[in-house]
């Protein structure tokens, strides 16, 4: 648990996570960040408390069926659903991400997208997309902007762009107004989780031509 996280999730994302109205890719981003950041976890859980209040105080309740309790006891008697096997601690991937990768950092199926940069798209449903990015130490990702919202969280190494410096656990929140060229620190290869709710726009011609093939 690091206390050095400087760039956190916003209240609207945490409230939407608590309310359950984020697409799966964004849920994954929030769950991954909360695994590393107790500040945001406490804020998210206080939004859960609002949900508890709504559940408790909603005006009218709906009666359960007559045999409902007995049916539930029968359900319980069948036993607990088989729990997911407990994953080993990984210094790069928090447990929610391990579930999506299907293992450890060594199990990520990277695909090269040029200039040594690699990505792995994670399977999520809904309108948003989640992927892992591998940026070799000292390398820049091409200058790009965004049609929608892009969240990028550092898992290993660090990167800098026009906004600030981002290290493990830090989340950069980019919208359509931000053009940036993230550059990985020279000391270590950088691995990030990135989620977008719309395709990226590259500002140079070549990457834009390749964009349909790269699915970014």
């Amino acid at each position: 648990m690091s206390n050095k996280i400087k760039h956190h999730l916003t209240d609207d994302l945490l409230m939407a996570y608590a309310a359950g109205s984020l697409p799966e890719a964004f849920d994954l981003m929030v769950a991954t960040h909360l695994s590393l950041c107790d500040d945001c976890r406490a804020r998210a859980e206080s939004f859960d408390a609002v949900g508890g209040h709504v559940l408790e105080e909603q005006g009218d309740v709906v009666a359960m069926n007559e045999k409902s309790l007995a049916e539930t006891m029968a359900l319980i008697a069948k036993g607990a659903p088989i729990a997911k096997p407990k994953r080993a601690q990984c210094s790069v991937l928090p447990t929610p991400l391990q579930d999506y990768v299907g293992g450890d950092v060594n199990d990520i199926r990277w695909r090269p997208i040029g200039m040594g940069v690699k990505q792995a798209i994670l399977p999520t449903s809904g309108d948003a997309m989640a992927r892992l990015l591998f940026i070799p130490a000292g390398t820049a990702v091409p200058d790009h902007s965004h049609k929608g919202m892009e969240l990028t969280m550092v898992l290993q190494g660090a990167f800098s762009d026009e906004v600030d410096h981002f290290a493990r656990g830090d989340v950069e929140i980019a919208d359509q107004d931000l053009h940036h060229t993230p550059t990985a620190d020279i000391t270590e290869d950088c691995i990030c989780l990135a989620v977008t709710d719309a395709p990226l726009k590259f500002n140079k011609l070549m990457p834009r031509l390749f964009q349909p093939f790269l699915r970014i």
Partner: protein
């Protein structure tokens, strides 16, 4: 057949626990009370004791009371979130069964039972109605021998009561918007205008509980 724990006879102070607890090494044995597990009940902490009785003694009477209170609320919540009544009935039963099976994961220093039930119902709604998986943060749980302090539990329950009063005092239009948000009827952008809620104190309380939990885990 299910013995209730008499809280009056279990007044062993929680402070005598050893400082270092290899809690990860010990597995909870479901249904068998472990030392320190049943001694910190308090009637003021609404429903918390019921969950403990389920966890420690598989107490069906406690479960029936929880069921009577929460199941109709879960069903109403799911219907307001877009489910038809038959599916809502089925899911409410599954949520209550989950409550039984996961009673050992409930942390009363971080959430009331109502809050915890809400999170289970919300996850069920996402899994079933939206056919998506709900990614959850890494589990954090007190081990069988490292329970939260009773003072922390009571403080959290009190903070929640104050939050309830503060939310009840909001203008009607805003309260309705918050309800809509939690029934899944507001987009992320619409939610952004609703985030100025009075959550400072309860957030600090949960943060404190997380710090103590981390300390106990290490």
């Amino acid at each position: 057949m299910f013995t209730e724990i008499d809280t009056a006879t279990l007044d062993e102070p929680v402070a005598i626990r050893p400082a270092q607890k290899p809690w990860r090494a010990k597995k909870r044995i479901r249904g068998k009370p472990v030392n320190g597990a049943g001694d910190s009940c308090d009637a003021r902490a609404e429903w918390v004791d019921h969950v403990r009785r389920i966890r420690d003694a598989q107490d069906q009477a406690a479960f029936a009371e929880l069921f009577q209170h929460f199941a109709p609320r879960i069903k109403a919540f799911l219907i307001k979130s877009g489910s038809d009544p038959a599916l809502a009935e089925e899911c409410a039963q599954e949520v209550m069964a989950t409550l039984w099976h996961k009673a050992h994961l409930f942390d009363p220093a971080r959430a009331t039972v109502a809050t915890w039930v809400f999170t289970i119902a919300r996850n069920k709604r996402i899994d079933v109605l939206r056919k998506q998986r709900r990614p959850e943060p890494e589990d954090l749980g007190w081990g069988p021998e490292a329970e939260p302090e009773q003072d922390d539990v009571i403080a959290l329950q009190q903070e929640t009561a104050q939050l309830r009063d503060a939310l009840s005092a909001l203008p009607e239009a805003q309260r309705q918007l918050i309800e809509k948000a939690y029934f899944g009827d507001l987009s992320h952008r619409e939610i952004a205008s609703q985030t100025g809620l009075p959550l400072g104190t309860i957030k600090s309380r949960i943060r404190l509980a997380l710090d103590r939990l981390r300390h106990a885990m290490n």
